[in-house]
């Protein structure tokens, strides 16, 4: 069940090709039902995710952004997620400073075999964003 | 060393049938330099019966006491009774892990409990907080006649997630505490098999059978007494020993002491001070011989030296043995 009542929100996901994108595939193959708000962008590695992509998304229309990579030590490129972890942590701490709830942004690690974890992450994060509601509601009503 | 202080929840049993547990624990704590402060106006933890009524209600009976202790600003509560301990731990866990549950429980209480109390069994504070070194240090008397089987009962260490202490299948804390006193301990397999708990009254036959198993395993292991840490276990093993004998056609006559009584004996308290006369199966003969520790050690050293001096005799003995085999 989608578990999310009401209108869909815009959630952008950046998934590394080797682990989390595979994990999302695994969840799909196992038919683990998930809320439908998430839109997935495939990147080779979580280390490719410039925090500015997250900012760009949040400033231009996303209500939530999820970044998911391989577990630390298990990066296909050895170190990519170690850099990601530092940069995304920096961003997570900066967001509330500019008035964006840090709960709108989540980064985590899901391996290709963790279909169930992926389902949990998507469900929980979508619920979390729904609790906060749309971020750009004001503009929508203005426009 | 800074003195340790605990909120001491003795529990209902220790006011009645288990008075000697209370007496001996307080004495031992005095020796070990631990301060026990009784929470004012504590009430029953709810125990098993409350759990058959309602989860929230049961937690509330326990949490009333936790709230009182929380106000004392001591932080850690200790109770000798595993049943009280489990009630506190479960109430605390339920309330700290689930905000809604906490609210429901606090609704039933006058003073809310906020989750700031750690509960530990008396065995745990003796084993972990005081430590074996200190336990051994304070020994004044050797008890050479005791061969102890330590019996932990079912819920001292279980379930492991809640108890967070020792091994759930083969606990060793009590064994080590008693060993640290210089007293001989016998290992056996039934340390945690349930004795029948509170069913002594309504389902006596059940308790007889379970208690019988525990007693026989201890005797088979060569123990001549059993050490316990739970008032209910003591009651079932000691008070009901004769009921067991009658029902199962056995003839057990094995004293069941609180481990704190054994500690007290090793620390030089008299059997009278330790309420030893309250045991139904008398431990009298076993604890008659008490040798001041210095004297006892000298004795042992002399024995060892004598054995060393005659290596040839030993070799001869060994040679004889190998020939035999």
């Amino acid at each position: 069940m989608s578990g999310v009542a009401g209108k869909e929100l815009r959630i952008v996901g950046f998934l590394c090709n080797w682990c989390s994108y595979g994990g999302a595939d695994t969840a799909g193959v196992a038919r683990f039902k998930q809320p439908t708000d998430l839109r997935i962008i495939r990147v080779p590695c979580s280390g490719r995710v410039d925090p500015l992509f997250v900012v760009k998304a949040l400033l231009t229309g996303a209500d939530g952004v999820l970044v998911s990579g391989c577990h630390p030590r298990d990066c296909h490129y050895t170190d990519g997620n170690f850099y990601a972890r530092r940069r995304l942590e920096m961003l997570k701490r900066l967001l509330p400073f500019i008035g964006i709830d840090e709960k709108r942004f989540h980064y985590t690690w899901v391996s290709a075999s963790e279909g169930q974890k992926w389902q949990q992450v998507v469900t929980d994060f979508t619920n979390q964003v729904h609790k906060l509601g749309p971020m750009h509601a004001k503009k929508e009503s203005e426009g | 060393m800074a003195e340790k202080e605990y909120a001491y929840f003795s529990g209902c049993s220790l006011e009645g049938t288990a008075k000697e547990y209370d007496t001996s624990f307080r004495l031992v704590m005095k020796t070990l330099g631990v301060t026990l402060t009784e929470p004012e106006d504590w009430s029953c933890c709810g125990s098993t019966p409350a759990h058959t009524v309602d989860h929230v209600f049961a937690a509330a009976l326990a949490a009333r006491n936790l709230a009182i202790v929380e106000k004392m600003n001591i932080g850690t509560l200790t109770t000798p009774c595993p049943s009280c301990l489990m009630a506190f731990k479960k109430a605390h866990l339920g309330m700290t892990e689930d905000e809604a549950f906490k609210d429901q429980v606090n609704e039933l209480l006058d003073e809310p409990y906020e989750g700031g109390v750690i509960s530990k069994s008396s065995l745990q504070i003796i084993y972990e907080d005081v430590g074996l070194e200190k336990i051994a240090e304070k020994v004044t008397h050797a008890l050479p006649d005791l061969k102890v089987a330590a019996y932990y009962g079912c819920i001292m260490n279980r379930p492991p997630d809640v108890a967070q202490f020792d091994d759930p299948e083969n606990p060793v804390a009590m064994d080590r505490v008693i060993s640290a006193l210089g007293v001989e301990v016998r290992d056996y397999a039934f340390k945690t098999e349930c004795c029948g708990a509170a069913f002594g009254v309504p389902k006596r036959a059940m308790v007889n059978e379970l208690t019988y198993k525990v007693l026989s395993m201890a005797v088979d292991a060569g123990a001549n007494c059993i050490a316990v840490a739970c008032p209910l276990c003591q009651q079932n093993l000691d008070l009901r020993q004769e009921q067991v004998n009658r029902a199962m056609g056995a003839s057990f006559n094995i004293p069941v002491l609180y481990f704190t009584q054994i500690m007290g004996l090793a620390y030089g308290y008299s059997p009278k001070e330790l309420d030893m006369d309250k045991l139904v199966v008398s431990a009298g003969p076993l604890i008659k011989t008490r040798i001041p520790i210095a004297e006892y050690r000298a004795m042992k050293e002399a024995e060892a030296a004598a054995a060393k001096k005659t290596p040839k005799a030993r070799e001869a003995k060994e040679a004889a043995k190998t020939e035999e085999s």
């Binding site: - | 029953c44 759990h51 009524v53 389902k203 059940m206 009921q243 309250k278």
Partner: protein
């Protein structure tokens, strides 16, 4: 020595389409917080249960009856009352089900629905709780007497009396704690709340 469970009750064909009480399954899952589907019937709980010889249904069978939603059979069973919460099943369950907690939940539901098969045990528990309500603590003699009178087992443990008395193990008079009314209030509030929620 071991009792076969088929002897304890008659096995009628259970029409699962009609006789599966889905609400009951849901209720137990919700109140206990445990997922009953996790049980794969390995029998470890039964294997370790010290009381199983006295049970009409061994624990694993209680779990199975739960999975199939056999509400009446479970709530009328002796097993749920003969469980002493020794936590062996919970400790050893490979599926990490808190079985003892499920049994607790079943007792609570049985009590609520007035379906207690083991009246003696319930009476003993009630006598215990009465003492708590009146005095704030347990007054052992009183508890035993109350139980004996209510259960009709007038001489239960009478043989132990002299032992206990001569050893000075029993207090003849209850100590009433100062805050006994506070404890009684917990009982009251709980009753009012329970009534309100039906």
């Amino acid at each position: 020595m071991y009792k076969v469970y088929f002897q304890t009750y008659e096995m009628d064909t259970i029409n699962l389409s009609e006789k599966t009480n889905w609400e009951f399954i849901e209720q137990v899952q919700k109140e206990s917080g445990e997922n009953l589907s996790l049980c794969y019937q390995c029998g470890n709980c039964t294997a370790g249960c010290p009381y199983t010889n006295y049970f009409d249904y061994p624990v694993s069978m209680v779990m199975r009856l739960l999975q199939t939603g056999q509400k009446d059979t479970i709530l009328n069973s002796k097993a749920i009352w003969l469980c002493a919460t020794c936590e062996t099943c919970t400790t050893r369950c490979p599926c990490e089900i808190d079985v003892a907690h499920v049994m607790d939940t079943l007792r609570i539901i049985a009590r609520r629905e007035n379906k207690v098969s083991e009246k003696d045990i319930k009476m003993f528990y009630d006598a215990f709780l009465d003492s708590v309500k009146r005095f704030g603590r347990i007054y052992e003699v009183g508890t035993l007497l109350t139980y004996n009178i209510r259960s009709g087992h007038f001489m239960a443990d009478a043989d132990l009396g002299p032992k206990v008395l001569t050893k000075g193990k029993i207090r003849f008079f209850p100590t009433k704690i100062k805050g006994s009314d506070k404890v009684a209030q917990i009982f009251e509030r709980f009753r009012t709340k329970a009534k309100k929620h039906g």
